[in-house]
């Protein structure tokens, strides 16, 4: 019975919202002055939102427990794209790191190259060519035309 409930997506959705709502309410109650309704302090409005979110979360959870489970339902999507997910998240991180130490050109190349590797059908060579094209276009547009304050090439912090 309990194991069956854990296979429903909405159970997780409900629990997540309830916990989030509770965390927001507790945080605003403990850390910020509530004040009165006439003279509201910084904590009053977030507390209201938190309580409302907790209630909505519990409603979602209740609905999920009562509802019949769809046999096709899975928590993670049927095809798990770990590589795709990791590459898409790593793209902007590469942008931050390379941008911080080596400048715009390297950041652009790194970001596009890493993100492009997320697609299963694209090869390293293809990703590199795409990244090179975007780097040239991006540097011309942002550095030369729009004059963004981001050095094209730099070394160190």
């Amino acid at each position: 019975m309990f194991a069956e409930q854990l296979k429903k997506r909405d159970v997780y959705a409900g629990v997540l919202m309830t916990l989030l709502g509770a965390a927001i309410s507790l945080n605003s109650y403990a850390n910020y002055r509530l004040g009165t309704l006439t003279q509201m302090g910084p904590g009053m409005f977030p507390l209201m939102l938190g309580v409302a979110m907790t209630l909505v979360g519990m409603l979602i959870l209740g609905n999920a427990i009562v509802a019949e489970r769809d046999p096709d339902e899975t928590i993670l999507p049927a095809q798990r794209e770990w590589r795709g997910w990791a590459c898409i998240l790593a793209g902007p991180i590469a942008f931050i790191v390379l941008g911080q130490y080596f400048g715009l050109a390297a950041a652009t190349f790194g970001c596009v190259f890493v993100a492009a590797l997320g697609e299963r059908s694209s090869s390293v060579k293809e990703a590199a060519i795409l990244a090179a094209i975007i780097t040239v276009v991006g540097c011309v547009v942002f550095s030369l035309v729009l004059k963004l304050s981001f050095p094209l090439v730099r070394w160190g912090v």
């Binding site: 959705a13 509201m40 939102l49 991180i93 970001c111």
Partner: protein, 517 residues
């Protein structure tokens, strides 16, 4: 009244016809049309990417361009639906039902031709509605006190969250999350930092560009990576000559276009019902009044003309509450409102008086933009059709770069790129749990003003919560909000068939455009 509206409109054309404004409008509709055609890119992601680039241009040009992306994408989205059977763009999902069978019968070109005519008629009506309705709304809204504004925002938020795609309950949860995210930063009254986790970078609040690009960029790419397969382009050879519909098709499509326009303009008046709902209702109406309802789904031209006209009249009508009251109906409008605020323009009923150039210039630019779109779509249809074949694996990595540089350039701050990654990851987890992220943006944009007006209303009324029921105008808004919730509950409990049909269509849209509203 009519005369003053017309003379204001004349002034608007003067603004919109300034060479640089025409240029921005053209760039906007061109980019919009392009992303509307591309499978896997939507107007929300595009407007978020373009938003930082508009900081350098004047407010009028910026708004003209961003609005152009939105309605330009509607023209492009129809091409994708009719020729590829892909609902890349939710408002056009219903067009697939009859548009694609027409394509298979070799009449896809004619369906596109009808679409262009229907779009122009629908849009023109929506614009006319905005010209005459907005001044009236503004006049009423200028009398509003904090409690009325608060009740109106409550209605707008509730409608925006429950009428959007997906479960209404989850929509409300997302709106609440958005309101909470809007709180992050210094408190307006006391200056106390709230929910900043001790990070000084968050004192100014979460950046709207970062939030939008995380939710509609990164999260959507994560959902779509390796999922969008190469599209079947065997039906996409359409040239200029194919666009011409036969006389019989035109005869059947005309009345459908006008019915669709009417449905769309009515939907635009209800807050929260965007173009997607309008097109569904138009299709259902068309099917109901048709003498041959069983033929729908096999290539009825009415099933293309009516939803398309309704989408466009509702898209233009969507701007009415946004520009005249400062209350956006959906996430795209929230983003455009956010763009106005970044430009230092305060949205609300006073906008029409303090910035008549923005208001009337925008309206005039709608017409100019729509004429440009007709000109772009008719002779250049072959080029747009070729764009359909651009593979997603080249598209999203390039978009990732524009996303990073866009977020960075808002404040020249790398922290915000990191913030966007975190928001993207959270957004993807929410997508996995069937939450639709669009209401988050709505709540985020309205949140600070909602809190401010709520506090003010409570201060004036000495903490008496019944004020919302005592003032007649706010009573109307509050009761509308509650009847909205009651109808939703009724529909779900009593009409499981309607709910099931909605769910099935949603699942189809989710496969290609998960985060677009």
């Amino acid at each position: 009244m009519i005369q003053s509206a017309l003379s204001d409109l004349w002034f608007g054309f003067g603004v919109a016809l300034e060479p640089h404004n025409i240029m921005w409008c053209f760039i906007g509709v061109l980019i919009g049309n392009m992303v509307g055609v591309l499978p896997g890119m939507g107007p929300l992601a595009t407007i978020s990417i373009l938003l930082p680039l508009t900081f350098g241009i004047k407010p009028v040009g910026a708004i003209l361009m961003l609005a152009g992306v939105f309605y330009g994408a509607q023209y492009g989205g129809a091409i994708c639906s009719i020729l590829l059977n892909l609902p890349c763009h939710p408002p056009h999902a219903v067009t697939c039902l009859d548009g694609f069978p027409l394509t298979k019968q070799g009449r896809g070109g004619a369906a596109l031709g009808i679409t262009v005519i229907a779009s122009f008629i629908g849009a023109s009506w929506g614009i006319t509605e905005m010209i005459f309705l907005s001044p009236v709304l503004v006049k009423v809204a200028l009398e509003f006190g904090p409690s009325e504004i608060c009740a109106l925002m409550f209605l707008g938020l509730l409608a925006g969250s429950t009428l959007a795609r997906g479960s209404p309950l989850k929509g409300i949860a997302m709106t609440l999350l958005g309101l909470t995210l809007g709180i992050v930063g210094s408190d307006l009254d006391t200056g106390m930092p709230r929910f900043t986790a001790g990070l000084p970078n968050l004192l100014d609040g979460i950046e709207i560009v970062g939030l939008a690009l995380g939710l509609f960029g990164i999260a959507e790419f994560m959902k779509s990576v390796n999922q969008i397969t190469a599209v079947n382009t065997s039906y996409t050879r359409v040239g200029l000559r194919d666009l011409k519909p036969t006389r019989e098709e035109l005869r059947r499509a005309w009345p459908a276009m006008f019915r669709g326009t009417l449905v769309g303009s009515l939907c635009a008046l209800i807050p929260g019902t965007g173009p997607t709902i309008a097109s569904f209702i138009a299709y259902a109406t068309e099917k109901k009044i048709s003498k041959t309802p069983e033929k729908f789904g096999t290539g009825m031209i009415e099933g293309v003309a009516s939803p398309e006209a309704s989408t466009h009249s509702s898209v233009q009508g969507d701007f009415i509450p946004t520009m005249s009251l400062g209350i956006p109906g959906d996430a795209v409008m929230a983003l455009i409102l956010g763009a106005l605020m970044i430009q230092g323009v305060v949205p609300g009923p006073q906008l029409i008086r303090t910035h008549p150039d923005i208001f009337w210039g925008l309206i005039a630019s709608f017409w100019i933009g729509n004429i440009m779109l007709v000109l772009l779509n008719v002779p250049m249809i072959g080029i747009w059709v070729k764009l359909l074949a651009i593979p997603y694996k080249y598209l999203y990595p390039s978009a990732m770069f524009f996303l990073c540089i866009g977020v960075y350039s808002t404040n020249n701050d790398m922290f915000q790129v990191g913030e966007t990654v975190v928001i993207g990851l959270v957004g993807y987890i929410l997508l996995l749990l069937d939450f639709h992220p669009a209401p988050i943006l709505l709540g985020f944009v309205l949140g600070p003003r909602f809190e401010e007006n709520f506090r003010r209303a409570m201060m004036i009324e000495r903490g008496d919560l019944t004020v919302f029921l005592r003032h007649p105008i706010s009573l109307v808004f509050v009761s509308l909000a509650f009847s909205l919730v009651a109808t939703q509950i009724y529909l779900r409990l009593r009409k499981p068939k309607v709910a099931a049909a909605e769910k099935a269509l949603n699942a189809r849209i989710d496969a290609v455009a998960p985060a677009e509203p």
